[in-house]
Amino acid sequence: MRVTVRLFARLRDLAGTGELVRDVPAPATVQTVWDGLTAEMPALVQYERLMSVAVNAEYARMSAAVQEGDEVAFLPPVSGG
């Protein structure tokens, strides 16, 4: 099934893009999507224990289920304000 991956800030810079579409085997979790992404781009792995994740623009956990068409976002530590 197909999901949209969103990357922000330094994760976006490391990947060279802020949005990509990937096929993942069902049933999938956020972790499945992340594992596919880091297999493709090992430089991202350094963020695994630092980042937050979101599914369809709601904060989620790595264990959250992902459905066809979902938007999965990986977020470095935030620095707003």
Binding site: R6, F8, E58, P76, P77, V78, G80
Partner: protein, 157 residues
């Protein structure tokens, strides 16, 4: 004007203040303006570029407004965060908190900026003399009660 916003337009604190104010019941309105600083960690800053995951940032701001209302019943909080390129001295975030009492207004305002720094998906890309760097602070987790208690403690200090 809505109580929370993520926008590329210059921020308007008077308009936000008017949005949270209620004519009859308020005894106090506390406001906060965050500015782009010329120096950071020994570096001379040229300008900042702010990036946001906008739909989630708006939801996180709404959550903070709700949290403040739970902690200080009757308080109304508005938060607008800017994105895009900001020059030194420009406002990056404005907050207004209206309440019947000054203590609650000040505490809710302080709480809101602490929570913005904890859970709103916004990032600063600092362009300084000699390079650029993504600033990274807190790992955002709205369900982290320890972080929320820390923000409450600072607000009520």
């Amino acid at each position: 004007m809505t109580p929370v916003a993520v926008t590329a337009a210059p921020l308007d604190l008077p308009a936000l203040t008017a949005e949270v104010a209620s004519a009859a019941g308020d005894g106090a309105i506390a406001t906060f303006t965050g500015l782009v600083r010329a120096h950071n960690q020994g570096r001379t800053v040229r300008f900042l570029e702010y990036e946001a995951y906008e739909p989630l940032a708006v939801r996180a701001l709404l959550r903070i407004v709700e949290e403040a209302r739970e902690a200080w019943p009757g308080v109304r909080v508005g938060i607008h965060h800017r994105v895009g390129r900001l020059e030194i001295g420009e406002a990056s975030v404005v907050i207004a908190a209206a309440s019947a009492h000054r203590g609650d207004a000040c505490a809710a305002c302080r709480y809101a900026i602490e929570r913005v720094k904890q859970i709103v998906p916004v990032w600063k890309h600092e362009h300084f003399e000699g390079g650029e760097v993504w600033l990274e602070g807190a790992t955002a987790d709205p369900d982290d009660e320890e972080a929320r208690r820390a923000a409450l403690k600072i607000a009520c200090a």
